[in-house]
């Protein structure tokens, strides 16, 4: 692609980029978090959130306020913003935004299938689905019995269809298979998204590729970690790893052979990027691997805003907002359960 996206980027996407930067500026600041942490009750939290850009988004909630209400309202707000971006976007940004929703769609599909397996009512599970990943056919997911059924009947028209190529099988959908399906879908999704960004070139590729590479590597680590002590064979494990990223290919091959956390750690020692992350685990404040990854993600997403004329800001904004929501929910949980000792272990967005 031609160098110099700055020449024509703003014609199509300038308005939205400005908008998303404005939205980013409304993320909670460190001072806000300090104030939030001091809250005694959820009502206090609500009053404080009213002074921020959240405004009176909780004003119409009937008492008593619960954490899940706050969470739902925040998600609704994010979803509203995202829908606005999406409705005003042009190609190829709209494709990019569709890719962004795919991960939520995968989560929703899997959630619904798990629900169906446990014979829970669809309504109950729908409440838990992420609004960003909603689509009409979603609720029909539970009529499918095999992955190919699922694909042929329901998902063939959704953006998820292309990711199904690798996971067509006639196996019955039990818990393990669903989990495998999720990981395969996710792998395929990440690879496609990565390819899309790479082909787009320009600043978008420069910004998005590292973020997605990190995402892929993180998945690989998590899959490895979760497969310790399960019946998943090492070969199967390897097929679940997304085939790009900093670990690809040698690191992934080594990871596939790993048998416990210490072996994993010794593999990671070869990678300068991830070594400090693994070293930070369990150190000061008892951070988990998840926390460390989240921190790193926030860091990368914040850096995305340093460049102009690319789509990465949309991705980064949604991720940052999600992190902020996780933080608020964490603080709210701590407040409502009177568990104040851990209230400070939210991930600050700098």
């Amino acid at each position: 692609m031609l160098e110099g996206a700055e020449l024509y980027f703003n014609v199509d996407h300038g308005y939205l980029e400005g908008l998303v930067r404005g939205c980013k500026a409304s993320l909670l600041t460190q001072q806000d978090y300090i104030n939030l942490v001091q809250c005694e009750t959820l009502e206090d939290l609500k009053i404080h959130l009213q002074t921020t850009d959240y405004g009176n988004f909780l004003a119409n909630q009937t008492n008593p306020l619960t954490v899940s209400k706050i969470d739902t309202e925040m998600r609704k707000r994010l979803c509203g913003e995202f829908e606005y971006f999406r409705n005003h976007s042009l190609e190829p940004l709209s494709t990019f935004l569709t890719y962004m929703t795919c991960s939520y769609m995968i989560d929703n599909v899997i959630l619904l299938m798990n629900g169906a397996l446990q014979k829970k009512s669809v309504k109950e599970i729908l409440g838990k689905c992420h609004p960003l990943g909603r689509f009409t056919e979603m609720e029909a997911v539970n009529i499918a019995e095999t992955p190919s059924d699922l694909f042929n009947a329901i998902l063939v028209e959704t953006p998820l269809a292309p990711f199904f190529q690798d996971c067509m099988s006639e196996n019955a959908l039990d818990e393990l298979n669903i989990e495998l399906l999720r990981n395969k879908l996710y792998k395929s999704y990440l690879e496609t998204f990565y390819k899309f960004c790479k082909n787009h070139g320009d600043v978008t590729a420069e910004v998005m590729c590292p973020i997605l590479e990190f995402e892929a590597d993180r998945r690989a680590f998590i899959i490895t970690l979760n497969s310790f002590g399960t019946e998943l064979s090492k070969e199967d494990r390897e097929t679940l790893y997304p085939t790009f990223g900093k670990l690809y290919p040698e690191g992934l091959r080594l990871l596939a052979q790993a048998e416990d956390f210490d072996q994993m750690k010794s593999i990671v020692d070869h990678y300068v990027v991830y070594k400090p992350l693994f070293e930070a685990v369990g150190g000061s404040g008892g951070k988990t691997l998840e926390d460390v990854f989240y921190e790193r993600e926030v860091q990368m997403n914040v850096l995305a805003f340093n460049r102009q004329f690319h789509y990465g800001v949309f991705y980064a904004y949604v991720k940052l907002k999600e992190q902020e929501m996780r933080n608020i929910v964490w603080i709210a949980e701590c407040i409502s359960q009177r568990h104040r000792t851990k209230i400070n272990s939210y991930i600050p967005i700098l």
Partner: protein, 828 residues
């Protein structure tokens, strides 16, 4: 009016409000709108303040109000404006209001819910009826037979165990936008073992919640086999379809349809009853809501104000700090006394010294408001600074009029403004919501003066819609010229241009009594005459305006006790300005008075003289205006240049000297301060120490005078002033440019439109008919281009001349407005 010249004296007042009476006191203050509360709890976050519980209760109530309001809006009812004055209710009344509104809201919610569920039922019935009544019958029959004939050989092959296989139906309705997706999903999921027919409802049904008409797609699915049936039911569920039982027999269907219609009739009756009850409840809401809303809003405002107060250590009273105009102090005392009389302990207010700059308060009336607005939009004046607004009242319309000078246009503008002024008390005019109209209406007195002054300058320029009027006989006589030089008829026929020579006796009789002689409008050199006149006029007006600005600075220095600046700043500035540009004005006027028509041929050029003045040279061809001119000019230039270092170094050096002197002997300031702190505010926790710290910090700042900063500041000021004198004088030439543009535009409009129209038909009838559209075009263009467009541009330039050229000579505009705590906004 006295308070117009500078902002009123504002004092920091400490209010001791007994806890029992604090609420009534503050609510009384809110009614009067006298004081601006200072936040004494700035470091306390919103939810840790004292009255946060009460605020929250008010908010709860407001939530109920919004619910009620929303219901009213949905019912299409308008809330009346509350009548009379509604004071903030005593706190115990809140409970009553809360109870009443809660009860109403609950009732409303119940009735609404009933109505809703009835509507949903009705909707369901109607849909069912529609599904049954829809013409799926014949289609179905063909599909059935078709399917059967297709299938016959297949079915026979396995030996016909499926002979008794029955076709089952699922019927229902779905929203139209979902229909295609549903159809496709059904097809894919059931692998085609079904026949679905979709058809759109002819008549849109009312949506049960929003009441909007919505069309529906009804569908009828026929399928074989129970498993597929389950799948279909699941799919229809997930698309939120309404599924109804569908009887196979035609007669049974008809019977069901009839029953449905009967049911829906009954339902409609019940619904009607419910709606009547609903309107009763809404009527009660209509009565109760508006006053309650105002009261609760006031109550919340009071609590928010109380949240800014701090609590005394004994918890007996609340302590508030507020800015209050000194003039209003007695009223404040009285209000406090009155409202706390019931409690036995009276609330007290007393002044306390403050180191912060008080807010600016300038009371305006409807006439001065727009002029004050012009000044304030540049920047609110520092406390007690000279207020340019009273001078703006005259200079602004005048400078505007210089650019807009035309009797006709001015008159139109004046009449428009006059109409607004006369109609200003009419409620319809006041209530108009149009933003553009409000802008004009807000500036009606400004427009009035602008129009009036334009009429005046129009007479000076002698232009009315670009035509000259001869009220007085012209000062020039063509007859005399013709007689003296013996122009023959043939000579006159040959020459279209004739020169009038003022040196010939009898031709120039004397100046025109007022403004420009109308004969100039006939002259070929009309423009060059006017240009010279307007240019010189612009410079004169500019220099006078700027000098006036510098002089106004004197009052600032006197008032703030900075007498050194009189000598070290105002005097050099004035000398610089008047020595150079004042002298230019002098030259212009001197030449006007001194050089007569007789000596016009050898008249000296001011421009050359002025240039030579700076070069210290003289040109032999240019006659001096008066003897010793060169010496005077050289002295003036040297004097003006000598003022620059004074201006540059005077104030900083003075400040440094004073500072050094003060440091050498310790001042009595410290004891002074101790005296201040000895005030009976020792009981106050928190804020006292804050104040002390802030005060101490400021003191240190003053003590640590940074020489480099002072020098830098003064250097910037000096450069700005000296260069500004030149550029600002040039800037005033916009007066000339815009008035020229205005005159030329109106001239063009006359020549291109009206003159052509007037010259068209010789017969009266034709001329009259032709003139109607032509005059219409002339009138529209005059208003659109000359009045609105030109008016706006002249307004803008006048604004600039005031903000930049005039106000930067003395006005800092770094203050902030006093915004008293008042219910006035909530009453509206």
């Amino acid at each position: 009016m006295g308070s117009m010249f500078r902002s009123e004296e504002v004092a920091l007042v400490q209010l001791f409000l007994p806890t029992a009476a604090a609420y009534t006191c503050v609510s009384q203050l809110g009614e009067l709108g006298l004081v601006e509360f200072r936040d004494l709890n700035a470091s306390v976050s919103a939810f840790q303040r004292r009255f946060v519980v009460d605020v929250r209760r008010c908010e709860e109530l407001e939530k109920t109000f919004t619910f009620l309001q929303e219901e009213m809006r949905r019912a299409g009812l308008v809330l009346p404006r509350p009548e009379g004055r509604l004071p903030a209710p005593p706190p115990r009344d809140l409970l009553r209001i809360q109870e009443e509104t809660e009860r109403l809201a609950q009732e409303l919610r119940d009735v609404r819910g009933n109505q809703q569920s009835l509507r949903v039922q009705l909707h369901q019935l109607q849909l069912h009826a529609a599904v049954l009544g829809q013409g799926h019958g014949p289609q179905l029959a063909t599909a059935h037979t078709y399917g059967a004939s297709e299938r016959t050989p297949l079915l026979q092959a396995p030996g016909g165990p499926h002979q008794d296989l029955r076709v089952n139906f699922v019927a229902g309705a779905v929203e139209p936008h979902k229909a295609p997706a549903l159809e496709r999903l059904l097809w894919r999921a059931c692998r085609g073992f079904l026949i679905a027919s979709f058809s759109e409802l002819e008549r849109p049904l009312e949506h049960p919640v929003t009441g909007e008409p919505a069309t529906w797609m009804t569908f009828l699915i026929s399928y074989w086999g129970e498993q597929i049936g389950q799948k279909i039911r699941k799919i229809t569920d997930c698309f939120h379809c309404h599924v109804f039982p569908f009887l196979e027999q035609e007669e049974a269907r008809r019977a069901a349809l009839q029953q449905l219609q009967q049911q829906s009739q009954e339902l409609q009756e019940v619904l009607g009853e419910t709606e009547r009850f609903l309107s009763q409840v809404l009527g009660r809401v209509q009565q109760l809501l508006p006053p309650a809303q105002v009261q609760v809003r006031k109550m919340k405002a009071v609590y928010l104000a109380l949240n800014q107060c701090s609590v005394s250590t004994t918890h007996k009273c609340l302590i508030a700090e507020a800015w209050c105009a000194t003039r209003d102090l007695p009223a404040l005392q009285e209000a406090l006394r009155d409202s706390s009389a019931e409690e036995g302990v009276s609330a007290v207010a007393h002044r306390i010294p403050s180191r912060d700059m008080p807010p600016t308060l300038i009371r305006t009336n409807r006439f001065t408001a727009s002029f004050q607005g012009i000044v304030d939009s540049y920047g609110v004046g520092r406390y007690q600074e000279v207020n340019p607004a009273p001078y703006t009242i005259i200079t602004f319309p005048f400078l505007f009029a210089v650019m807009f000078g035309d009797v006709g246009h001015g008159l139109l503008m004046f009449l428009f403004a006059l109409a607004m002024v006369l109609a200003e008390n009419r409620p319809a005019v006041k209530a108009a919501q149009n933003e553009i109209w409000q802008t004009f209406f807000g500036g009606r007195y400004l427009l009035l003066l602008m129009g009036l002054f334009s009429v005046y300058t129009g007479f000076i320029y002698n232009e009315c819609f670009s035509r000259a009027s001869s009220i007085f006989p012209s000062g020039w006589s063509v007859a005399a010229m013709a007689n003296q030089s013996g122009w023959s008829d043939a000579f006159l026929a040959q020459h279209t241009m004739l020169t009038l020579d003022p040196n010939v006796t009898g031709v120039f009789l004397g100046p025109y009594p007022f403004g420009i002689d109308p004969i100039w409008s006939l002259a070929a050199n009309h423009l060059s005459f006017l240009n010279s006149f307007k240019m010189k006029m612009s410079v004169i007006l500019g220099v006078v305006h700027m000098a006036f600005g510098v002089v106004l600075g004197v009052f600032n220095h006197m008032h703030f006790g900075q007498r050194h600046r009189l000598l070290l700043e105002t005097l050099p500035e004035l000398t610089f300005l008047l020595g150079l540009f004042g002298y230019l004005v002098f030259l212009v006027i001197y030449k006007w008075l001194h050089v007569s028509a007789a000596s016009a041929a050898s008249a000296p050029s001011i421009l050359i003289h002025f240039i030579n003045m700076f070069l210290f040279s003289h040109s032999p061809t240019n006659r001096p205006l008066y003897p010793q001119q060169e010496v005077v000019q050289a002295m003036l230039v040297v004097l003006a240049l000598a003022m620059v270092p004074v201006l540059l170094l005077g104030t900083p050096l003075h400040l440094l000297c004073r500072h050094r002197r003060r440091r050498r002997r310790p001042t009595g300031r410290k004891e002074d301060k101790a005296g201040l702190l000895g005030l009976p505010d020792a009981s106050v926790n928190g804020w006292g120490s804050d104040e002390e710290k802030a005060g101490g910090l400021e003191d240190e700042q003053e003590a640590e005078l940074v020489p480099s900063e002072v020098f830098m500041h003064q250097a910037i000021h000096t450069i700005e002033f000296c260069l500004g004198c030149i550029s600002n004088t040039a800037s005033y030439l916009r007066l000339w440019a815009l008035s020229l543009a205005h005159a030329q535009l109106s001239e063009v409009l006359w020549a291109m439109v009206m003159r052509i129209g007037l010259g068209l038909g010789r017969e009266v009838g034709v001329a009259a008919v032709v003139l109607v559209p032509i005059f219409a075009a002339f009138a529209v263009m005059t208003v659109a281009i000359l009045l609105v467009m030109e008016g706006l541009s002249a307004f803008l330039h006048a604004l600039r001349l005031h903000w930049v050229e005039f106000q930067n000579k003395f006005y800092s505009g770094t203050g902030y407005k006093l915004s008293p705590f008042t219910f006035a906004a909530t009453d509206d």
